[in-house]
Amino acid sequence: MRRVKFLTVAFGLAAVLCLTAGLAFHSYAAGRSTPLVAAAADLTMGKAQLQSASRLAFGPDGILFVGDSAGASIVALDTNDRTAGSAAKMDVSGINAKIASLLGTSADQILINDVKVNPISKNAYLAVSRGRGPDAAAVIVRVDGKGQLSALSLDNVKHSSVSLVDVPTAASGNGGNARTQTITDIAFLNGNVLVAGLSNEEWSSALRSIPFPFSQAAKGATIQIWHASHGDFETQAPVRTFVPYMIQNQPYILAAYTCTPLVKIAVSDLKPGAQVKGTTIADLGAGNRPLDMVPYQKGGHNYILIANSSNGIQKLQADNLEAYKPITSPTVMDTGGVPFEKIGELKGVMHLARLDDSNALVLMGTNDSLDLKSIALP
């Protein structure tokens, strides 16, 4: 048998990897360039084990971090996609049907779990599940500025991974363990991958900070996140989605909890074993779940665009976030919180990602037909 051509587009395949240890790169986190030491030399060529692709985040030099909930790991993939591109208009209608054909199935068997844009090439990367059952395949689909689709080769790619599995406690019983940890969001910030997760069993909150390059000896420090209400009660609060953000030249994360408030947490507080209490700066409404957040600047002002499960797209005024008094009582919510407005014309947005300084990328539509398109940041 003569194998003629490997059709799967392999970004990492047969490419001359230009990364070397010591190559300087810049962090895109928090809108600030921080010199770091390149880590791609620590990635190894081979088959990347990816059981699921839940959430994505870009690190430096085209390295894509994939949160794998089923595999309980974070996988770093070298996309080998380092050619600078300008943000083109992107408009791919029926992207779920297109991905379905690429992967040889029907559109109803395609789940798009996350969308992110490579800040260098401006190509979009989608975390895709081919199938809906426990044996579904995880695929990373790339969409270029012309709307052409390809799949990142996982068979032969520079990669590394870190397990999120903790050592079982002594009282681990004998009744079997069906516990899983769903990765609700990841981000790369100052040389660390931040991972927020939610257990399908115990109510807990663990934000993990994992140094990159990965080392099995350092799975990262777990930080407990708490949420206080009007001073009387506090709970552990699983983080739903978060984004790095600079306030008064200090790095923060803005985090949306599973139970609605938007809080700010100083990155300097994220120390191993710490119990961190976020400061509530807005409440985005009951019965609602923030999905993605994109900070941007326009006309000399700072904003954060927030995609929500039921409250549509919200535009948060994000100048001088330090100046707002923390919300300490629901009764002052209308006057105490950071102001935001609803962007009514965008409905059915499921994912939102930054495309460039002026544009965002949205995945929107109904379950039957999804479109990937760029929008001007409002």
Binding site: M1, R3, V4, K5, L7, T8, S69, A97, K98, A100, S101, L102, G104, T105, S106, N113, R132, G133, P134, D135, A151, T169, A170, A171, S172, G173, N174, G175, G176, N177, A178, R179, T182, T184, L198, N200, E201, E202, W203, W226, H227, S229, G231, D232, F233, E234, T235, T258, C259, T260, P261, G273, Q275, A286, G287, R289, S309, S310, P330, N367
Partner: protein
């Protein structure tokens, strides 16, 4: 363009399309698509094999399937990257250089249609649930499909009207690894005291009111087949429980030596079914004791059956302090901590133990 629809493993005979007047046939064999009767040239065309032979699984402007090409016994073969999916039609298009394109449609493996999957249990089992109940566990008899849970689960009030925003509709859905158990969280914002959703909407369950959990029959299992039957569970709202579980209130019934009888632990209130499977254990001086766990009496009883008969002597029940009741209160700590009570927050779960004697 010629177009022929065929069943799985069928052959499309497309006569008169080659210069040599040889019969050209498109085959689907063992999950690979093959052109028979067309002489493959000595080299791949400049535009690549996809310019000659492509397979699609959808209509309109869609890209061809990912896969690899090979030449086997003189025939061009396309191997899809992923196995063919049940119930999906595949369109193979052969575009001979300089000739007319021809295509054939093949069906993928047969789609199963017999509904067999059921909801086997919903925990908590009790028919009175605290108003601040945090979780439900839905157990299915076979793996389920992701992505439609929030359309298929409803909580009705005593007038049969669906409640609004009672659950955290987590997009990823909190399944176990086999997709046979789904964890459903009530909105913690409506359980925790003093936050906006709780102030605006109150708790999802109200003490004294009656509710019905409804699971739609239309929910598809992992084969894409709906459930064999829907599921309903009725319950009444009980008082809120904000008291951490206290092992000192548990009752232990020790087994007899030289028997394989159960160690029985009884709780004064129901505990979290899933956590009971793994957060209680038995140890002796030589380490953990192997055995099987069962949970009964509406999650107020935990039983441990040892693999080997008990030996007379001292044992310990080991307890992970992360063990929760139905309301997210865990040992030593309520779900929402009243700061004025000055309870020390535990940084991480710990293991405590309670001794018992086997005689």
């Amino acid at each position: 363009m010629l177009k022929i629809r065929l069943a799985l493993a069928a052959v499309a005979l497309l006569s008169g399309v080659t210069a040599a007047a040889q019969v050209v046939a498109l085959h689907l064999e063992n999950g690979a698509f093959k052109i028979v009767g067309w002489k493959v040239g000595p080299a791949e065309p400049p535009q690549g094999w996809p310019s000659v032979f492509r397979v699609y699984s959808g209509a309109g402007d869609v890209p061809p399937l990912l896969g690899t090409y090979s030449v086997e016994a003189g025939s061009l073969v396309f191997h899809p990257r992923f196995p063919l999916a049940p119930g999906v039609p595949y369109r193979a298009v052969f575009s001979p250089p300089g000739g007319k394109s021809i295509e054939a449609i093949f069906d993928g493996p047969r789609q199963e249609t017999t509904p067999t999957t059921k909801v086997v249990h919903v925990y908590p089992s009790a028919d009175v649930l605290p108003s601040n109940t945090l979780k439900l566990y839905l157990y299915f008899s076979a793996p389920m499909s992701r992505g439609e849970a929030w359309q298929r689960i409803h909580l009705l009030d005593d007038n049969g009207k669906p409640l609004q925003f009672e659950f955290v509709e987590i997009q990823q859905e909190l399944w176990d690894a086999r997709n046979t158990r789904l964890t459903v969280l009530f909105d913690p914002g409506r359980i925790k005291r003093g936050v906006l959703p709780e102030m605006q909407m109150g708790p999802p369950i109200v003490e004294g009111k009656h509710y019905t959990l409804v699971i739609d029959r239309q929910w598809k299992d992992a084969r894409g087949v709906p459930l064999a039957e829907g599921f309903r569970k009725s319950f009444r709202g009980g008082p809120a429980d904000r008291t951490p579980p206290n092992p000192e209130t548990w009752r232990m019934i020790a087994p007899k030596a030289a028997t394989a009888g159960d160690l029985i632990v009884e709780f004064p209130k129901p505990m979290d079914y899933a956590l009971l499977q793994r957060m209680l254990g038995v140890s002796a001086g030589h380490g953990n004791v192997a055995g099987a766990v069962s949970v009964g009496r509406e999650e107020t009883q935990w039983r441990f059956t040892p693999r080997e008969p008990w030996k007379a002597g001292a044992y310990q029940l080991t307890i992970d302090t992360a063990l929760e009741d139905l309301c997210g209160n865990h040992i030593g700590q309520a779900f929402d901590l009243d700061k004025f009570q000055q309870i020390t927050r535990s940084i991480e779960s710990k293991t405590i133990s309670m001794p018992f004697e086997v005689r």
